[in-house]
């Protein structure tokens, strides 16, 4: 029995520690630990509920937008406040642009190198790579000359004795299986993706005035004054700039991202068999189409034990099925007590003891739905959409399975999505769906403004006494919910149950492992000192944990360690 500890002592974000017991080349048991205390919610106590979103979007430096959106929805829910249609559409466009940005960055910049061997790309024949790419996609960025230029660039890097960003990759690891031509294409698209993720973020900037940390929200709507002929407002010019970017994103996502994920899934078919873990799934509906939040363009619901036929829908922003069934447990978390409570009732009293995998070992709490462990994220979104017959989700999922199946020369059923690479495929499927819906919502906004509706804001009114509210947002990493108790116009309690808490949480009072922990069991590990396979599965969730802090360390004493004990 070998114990592997992947324990970053890094300076930014992360703070995730994974422990695995490996025997016979496979993970037998795993523990996921959040190594940093959050509890930032207490900063909100006593504050103006209208300001909460400005603070909550500082919870995390990467997912700022999502905490802002969830927070305004939460206070609106507490007040029973509807918001104008324009405000919904503008928020939806920001949400979708952010999601496209986040998913592209995750796949190319943050996790592709788990599958792509950069050094091997140097051996590729650019002409062959170009021919292969052109047989799969009409994308104009795959010419022999362009691929040759990328190869030369990487070659210069390597010959100069440094790999730069690619240092510390697991190059030459026996688990790397792509042919040199596919590696070269992936490296070329890695560089193109940098450009496209920046481009789509401009939509967030145009509509939100700034990113990270958008400025245009308000409890009750948005602050984007609409006047098509005014330089300073949301006008024709800005609207069409947004449309142009969304068109460009559609092409990149459907002609590049789609093809790359299908190719990688088809060439690593083993990884459609590892990493399932928890097959209970939770997703909430998003992209509201009315002022109340009762009709949506993306569906939500729950699935238990992988039974798609038994899907139960979450229908509205007010749905008691969601409100009444969420709890958090601290049985194995470093908080005082042993309770499992509803978010309205929670208190956050930290009590650190040492890492003890049989007792308490994480700062992350364990959220549960009807007492059950749930996996959240794009896979949950896609499976719930598929089960509910959501047309675009079904269409892109079928197309993905067909295309990846053609590469693998086998027929792939939807069941392969319960896996490590299934999570990457689902993230891509969701991005394709969103790339279409973004254009649809742009059209809805333009049409509504064209009708002469320029309303963007309804004034919130705070009654005396206590109100409770919850707001959810189906963020890139999954279901995010905020919960508020307001008393006499001030915040009395505030809790955020974030996607990575659902997925990265420790065992609960019934010792049910969390999704990360369960997904690692059965993963192969060829070399305990280079646990690429463990990282593949953890990365497939797109973890984002600390949501808080970083201090630069130019003097470089920190180390991320991988220990095999």
């Amino acid at each position: 029995m070998t114990r592997i500890v992947v324990d970053p002592v890094t300076r930014i974000e992360g703070h995730l520690r994974i422990d695995c017991e490996v025997d016979g080349g496979k993970v037998q048991k795993a523990w996921s630990s959040g190594q940093m205390y959050r509890g930032i919610e207490t900063i909100l106590l006593g504050r103006d509920p209208r300001d909460a979103w400005i603070f909550t979007q500082r919870f995390c430096g990467v997912c700022t937008t999502v905490h802002a959106i969830a927070s305004v929805r939460t206070v609106e829910n507490a007040l029973g406040l509807e918001i104008p249609l324009n405000a919904q559409y503008i928020r939806n466009l920001i949400v979708m642009a952010h999601a496209m940005h986040d998913h592209i960055v995750h796949f190319y910049q943050l996790s592709a190198l788990d599958w792509v061997d950069v050094v091997s790309a140097l051996k590729a024949d650019p002409a062959k790579a170009s021919a292969l790419a052109n047989s799969l996609s009409p994308w104009p960025g795959n010419s022999k000359e362009q691929l040759k230029a990328v190869q030369d660039k990487v070659k210069n890097y390597v010959e100069a004795g440094q790999l730069g960003i690619f240092t510390n990759g697991y190059w030459g690891h026996p688990a790397m299986k792509l042919p040199p031509e596919v590696n070269l294409l992936a490296v070329a698209h890695y560089l193109q993706a940098l450009d496209y993720q920046r481009r789509v973020n401009q939509v967030v900037t145009i509509l939100g005035s700034k990113t990270p940390n958008i400025q245009n929200l308000a409890v009750g709507g948005v602050a984007n004054a609409i006047n098509l002929d005014n330089e300073a407002t949301l006008n024709m010019n800005r609207l069409f700039r947004v449309k142009d970017i969304l068109d460009e994103m559609n092409a990149f996502i459907q002609q590049v991202y789609f093809v790359d994920v299908c190719a990688i899934a088809g060439m690593y078919p083993d990884w459609l068999g590892y990493g399932a873990g928890v097959t209970n799934y939770l997703a909430v509906p998003d992209l509201p189409l009315d002022t109340k939040g009762t009709k949506f363009d993306l569906p939500g619901g729950t699935i238990f034990n992988g039974d798609l036929a038994g899907v139960k829908e979450i229908k509205t922003f007010q749905d008691p099925y969601f409100k009444e069934n969420v709890t958090e447990s601290i049985a194995h978390s470093w908080y005082d007590g042993e309770w499992s409570k509803h978010p309205y009732e929670e208190e956050t009293v930290p009590k650190y003891t040492k890492f003890d995998d049989s007792k308490k070992y994480s700062w992350v709490k364990s959220p549960r739905f009807q007492g059950k462990v749930m996996q959240v994220g794009p896979l949950a979104q896609v499976l719930v959409g598929f089960a509910l017959g959501h047309e675009p989700t079904k269409r892109w999922a079928v197309k993905t399975l067909e295309t990846a199946g053609a590469v693998a020369k086998t027929k792939l059923s939807p069941a392969v999505l319960h896996s490590t690479l299934g999570r990457h495929a689902a993230r891509m499927i969701r991005t394709c769906v969103i790339s279409e819906l973004a254009l649809k919502h742009w059209g809805l906004l333009a049409e509504n403004i064209g009708k002469g509706d320029t309303a963007i804001f309804n004034q919130p009114v705070f009654p005396k006494g206590e109100q409770r509210g919850f707001g959810f947002h189906e963020a890139p990493r999954g279901t995010l919910s905020h919960w508020v108790v307001i008393e006499d116009g001030k915040i009395k309690n505030y809790q955020a149950v974030v996607p990575s808490t659902w997925n990265a949480g420790p065992r609960d009072e019934k010792n049910q492992p969390g999704p990360y922990e369960a997904s690692l069991v059965g993963n192969p590990v060829a070399n305990a000192g280079l646990p690429l396979e463990v990282l593949r599965t953890v990365h497939s969730f797109d973890p984002c944990l600390a949501c808080a802090i970083h201090t630069l360390d130019p003097e470089g004493r920190e180390i991320a360690t991988v220990r095999a004990l």
């Binding site: 992947v6 300076r11 930014i12 974000e13 992360g14 703070h15 995730l16 509890g39 930032i40 900063i43 006593g46 504050r47 103006d48 300001d51 400005i54 603070f55 500082r58 430096g61 990467v62 700022t64 995750h106 910049q109 943050l110 996790s111 190198l113 660039k153 990487v154 730069g164 960003i165 240092t167 510390n168 560089l191 940098l194 920046r198 973020n201 700034k210 990113t211 990270p212 940390n213 705070f462 009654p463 005396k464 006494g465 006499d488 953890v538 990365h539 797109d542 973890p543 984002c544 944990l545 808080a548 802090i549 970083h550 201090t551 630069l552 130019p554 003097e555 920190e558 991320a560 991988v562």
Partner: protein
């Protein structure tokens, strides 16, 4: 006329984590006290990880302001050049959100869009933990850090000038606790 390449001053840090607000604080102080020539932007970017990339891309010069870990007393001002910032290899990635400044710089180098010049104006923190205020030592360093930024911009030929009616900086995260809400009559 030559096109002016952008110069960016970026305050990094989490305003909810005590001294980690140093970067955003210096941005507030700069904007309250100074006006900047065209082409110079001064932005509080929070803790963006790899999302720092667009703020670094294609810039002529970038001045980062952040807290730094160093063996020096809290409030000490330290300045680092490009070599010290990019001189180390990126770390093995564990969480995909681990990548930060070094990774953003390397990525842009490969893409051919790295900033021409980059410098970090750092301050050693005392307490980086949940709070919306700076410790006294770090609060005292805000002015010195802001002046260092002004000095560097001037040396680059894009000197800011003092505002005619300079106001004391009032960061929203420290002032927002003071509010009044009119409650409606209905209970």
């Amino acid at each position: 006329m030559e096109t002016l390449q952008p110069v960016r001053v970026l305050g990094l840090g989490n305003v909810l984590m005590g001294d980690d607000a140093l970067g955003p604080w210096v941005v507030e102080a700069l904007l309250a006290g100074w006006e900047f020539p065209e082409g110079v932007s001064v932005v509080d970017v929070g803790t963006p990880g790899l999302d720092l990339t667009p703020f670094l891309a294609d810039a002529d010069a970038v001045i980062l302001v952040d807290t730094v870990k160093a063996a020096a007393p809290p409030g000490t001002l330290l300045v680092y050049g490009r070599r010290e910032l990019a001189g180390r290899s990126p770390l093995p990635r564990v969480s995909p959100h681990d990548p930060g400044l070094t990774e953003a710089l390397f990525t842009l180098e490969l893409a051919g869009a790295a900033p021409h010049d980059i410098v970090l104006v750092g301050v050693v923190p005392e307490k980086v933990e949940k709070a919306v205020r700076l410790s006294p030592a770090v609060r005292r360093a805000v002015d010195a850090a802001a002046k260092e930024v002004v000095r560097r911009l001037s040396a680059m030929g894009v000197a800011p000038w003092p505002r005619a009616r300079a106001a004391a900086p009032a960061p929203w995260w420290e002032s927002a606790a003071d509010f009044r809400i009119e409650l409606s009559a209905r209970a």
